[in-house]
């Protein structure tokens, strides 16, 4: 079975920690990272969050860098384009293609670095949250933030059935593969279409069955949430405040520092 983010979150030691603390750390990281003018602060945040995820949350480093590589690759390409097409100032590097000048300016390069740093820091903050807090815990956070009940209930059921349908889809896909359903482009398309159709029908049937099974247990529009009191420990407060202070100090002292 393929491991997904939620599976790591469920087994993470940080799962036991207070949800609000984790959300605060994530929100703080994102806000400070985005509002920083210098690429240094976001890089520090990204570093801290990555260490927290790998060390405290016990996520395998290989897996972590793999999932980080996807947005990182994307933002690298964007950074190159930004470097060439934006900003002003003296030229660092340039060349002509068909008598058209392509050049990287100091302003463009700084902008590219900043975008890169901000994106990576934002992503690492989000990964910190999603690899330490499973969906189950987030539902009670949603409840506490006074989201409408029906919204939360529907999302809880959706969450549950994503996995049921994923399993069904994987089963069907396997059954198609062993009968050469994906041998070339044309058959792949046909098979995918069939997979989609049967999943749709399954979802419909599942809905009917779910309705019966909920009714059999006297459903009257209330689902309970898993709420557990998790007091924040002193050591956690100390560590978090230390992190906040360091980041803020870096933020203040590097506010005008650019890489080049």
């Amino acid at each position: 079975m393929t491991q997904i983010l939620d599976d790591y979150a469920l087994n993470s030691p940080l799962r036991e920690k207070n949800n609000w603390l984790k959300i605060a750390i994530t929100a703080f990281g994102i806000l400070v990272g985005v509002s920083s003018n210098s690429p240094v602060t976001p890089f520090i945040i990204a570093l801290c969050m990555s260490i927290a995820t790998i060390h405290f949350s016990k996520v395998p480093a290989k897996f972590y860098f793999k999932i980080l590589a996807a947005p990182a690759g994307f933002v690298m390409v964007s950074a190159v384009i930004i470097a060439f097409f934006s900003g002003a100032g003296s030229e660092v590097f340039g060349f002509d293609i068909l008598s058209h000048r392509f050049a990287v300016t100091i302003g463009g390069l700084n902008m590219a670095f900043l975008v890169l740093a901000r994106t990576i820091s934002g992503m690492s903050c989000l990964f910190f949250l999603s690899l330490s807090t499973p969906m189950i815990e987030l539902f009670s956070v949603l409840k506490a933030t006074r989201f409408p009940d029906s919204f939360i209930e529907i999302s809880m059921m959706m969450y549950r059935y994503i996995f049921v349908f994923m399993e069904v889809a994987m089963g069907i896909k396997y059954a198609q593969t062993v009968r050469l359903g994906y041998k070339d482009f044309r058959t792949s398309f046909r098979s995918m279409g069939m997979l989609g159709t049967s999943l749709f029908i399954r979802a419909w049937e599942q809905g009917e069955k779910l309705y019966i099974s909920m009714n059999s247990r006297c459903y009257d529009g209330r689902l309970i949430l898993l709420e557990e009191d998790r007091p924040i420990k002193r050591s956690e407060v100390a560590l978090t405040s230390a992190y906040f202070i360091i980041v803020l100090v870096v933020f203040y002292s590097t506010r005008n520092i650019l890489l080049i």
Binding site: F139, Q206, S213, N215, L226
Partner: protein
């Protein structure tokens, strides 16, 4: 005391297909009930009428002697007391975590938060899943999911728990755990109803059994009666429980004491016959452990068969060459197995052969051959486990006919010859119409028939 009852229940699906046809059942309080029938016989539909999910077209459902009403309040009361565990756990477990799923029922019953918590905790402890309570259902094994599904129902403290195919897709250990749980619940006074097509399970577990086929109730009773009724089982497309078949074969070989009906292996062991001992005079050179041939016995000395070969194993030698021997009896006449190939089917010949060929049992193997037999009105004694049961019958001196076709002929032939080689007991086996060679056989057969007729004339 009857807790649940249905009277002449009729239900048909919106498209008109009949799902329940005049079904009347009475379920007694505190019993373990099994509804047995092959897939699609109407068990699940019946269950959904028992908790008011489906409203019958005709007839009524009674809970504690009161007809069920279908207004919201009565339904709530009924569903609180009649819990259903569905066949596929994924249909039932919809909450993102196990705790939430088990808490679902109690929440809907309007319990206070503290009460919900204590009920859920104790139920999870009871099914042994407390350590997993914060996991999502997709992280559990099939057996664990099933136990969560049961816990979700138990948490509502119903009087009756209905389980649709509780052991489907479970591994043996998971299945045992689920059955232990059900037995325990029953011990604490819950009425447990299951549906199954596993005759072995129904036979060994249930107090009372209902047999369903084609949306009708065709039999009910205690398992010992129901599962010995071969006609009923055949009508319901079921087979005998394995342990009863073993018992049957042991009884035919007089290896077990007179009538008993073992439910499990200890029960079977208990009724095994002790060795038959006898004083015999032996020659002086016989030693302990030797085998002595006591010859052929017939008449009143042969216990089971017309003619028995009796051997004795010497256990102890007394003075004067008197010895205690343990007797073992073997019937002398082995029967035969004839295989008929329906690829070269000739209805007239087959009918003639069955009528005059001294055939004791007829079995059919493969859907095509069974259909042919059905079409030509050939009564089938055996429809499942045909080869093995034919061998067993032949060993008891019967002449068995197997109607089959294609590759199964050679499979049957090989299986039987393999048995002959392994056991050293010769059973005559023959393919009676090989390669469409009916003409010669037919003449041979008619010759035999005419011979039979002439002998009849003679006797007249």
């Amino acid at each position: 005391m009857t807790i649940l009852e249905t009277r002449d229940l009729v239900y048909s699906y919106p498209d008109g297909t009949i799902a329940l046809d005049n079904v009347s059942v009475r379920i007694d309080l505190g019993k373990k009930i099994a509804f047995v029938g092959r897939n699609g016989s109407g068990k699940s539909t019946l269950f959904l009428t028992l908790n008011g999910t489906l409203v019958p077209k005709k007839g009524e459902v009674l809970f504690h002697g009161e007809p069920v009403k279908y207004d919201a309040k009565s339904l709530r009361e009924l569903r609180k007391n009649v819990g259903i565990v569905f066949q596929n756990s994924d249909d039932q477990l919809f909450a993102p975590s196990i705790y939430q799923d088990v808490a679902f029922g109690p929440t809907n019953l309007g319990y206070s938060k503290e009460k919900i918590n204590s009920v859920v905790q104790s139920t999870l402890d009871y099914v042994g899943l407390n350590p997993l309570k914060r996991k999502p259902p997709h992280h559990l094994s099939g057996g664990q999911k099933k136990r969560v599904a049961i816990a979700g129902i138990v948490a509502m403290e119903p009087e009756v728990i209905i389980l649709d195919e509780p052991l489907s897709n479970l591994d043996p250990v998971g299945a045992d755990e689920v059955m232990d749980l059900l037995n325990e619940l029953n011990y604490f006074g819950k009425t447990i109803i299951i549906s199954t097509h596993d005759v072995d399970l129904a036979y060994r577990w249930a107090d009372y059994v209902f047999i369903m086929t084609n949306h009708q109730m065709i039999g009910e009773g205690i398992p010992e009666d129901i599962f010995r009724n071969e006609e009923l089982l055949q009508k319901a497309y079921l087979r005998k429980p394995q342990i009863l078949e073993v018992h049957e074969e042991l009884r035919r070989r007089s290896l077990v004491k007179a009538n008993g009906c073992p439910k499990d292996i200890p029960g079977l062991v208990r009724i095994l016959k002790e060795p038959e001992l006898m004083w015999v005079k032996v020659s002086p050179d016989v030693k302990v452990g030797d085998s002595v041939n006591l010859g052929l016995l017939h008449g009143e000395f042969a216990l089971t068969y017309p003619m028995e070969a009796v051997n004795g194993r010497v256990l102890h030698i007394h003075e004067d060459c008197m010895a205690i021997v343990e007797l073992s009896r073997h019937y002398v006449r082995a029967g035969s197995i004839m295989i008929y190939d329906t690829d070269h089917h000739d209805a007239g010949f087959l009918e003639l052969f069955i009528a005059h060929g001294d055939v004791d049992t007829v079995g059919a193997m493969g859907k095509r051959s069974k259909l042919i037999a059905e079409r030509d009105n050939i009564h089938l004694d055996i429809t499942s486990g045909v080869i093995d049961r034919s061998i067993l019958n032949a060993l008891c001196g019967q002449r068995c006919l197997i109607i089959t076709h294609g590759g199964m002929i050679y499979h049957a032939f090989e299986r039987i010859t393999q048995y002959i080689e392994e056991s050293g007991i010769n059973i005559h086996v023959d393919i009676i119409n090989e390669n469409g060679d009916i003409s010669t056989l037919a003449t041979a057969c008619t010759g035999q028939v005419s011979c039979v007729q002439s002998s009849e004339e003679h006797s007249v």
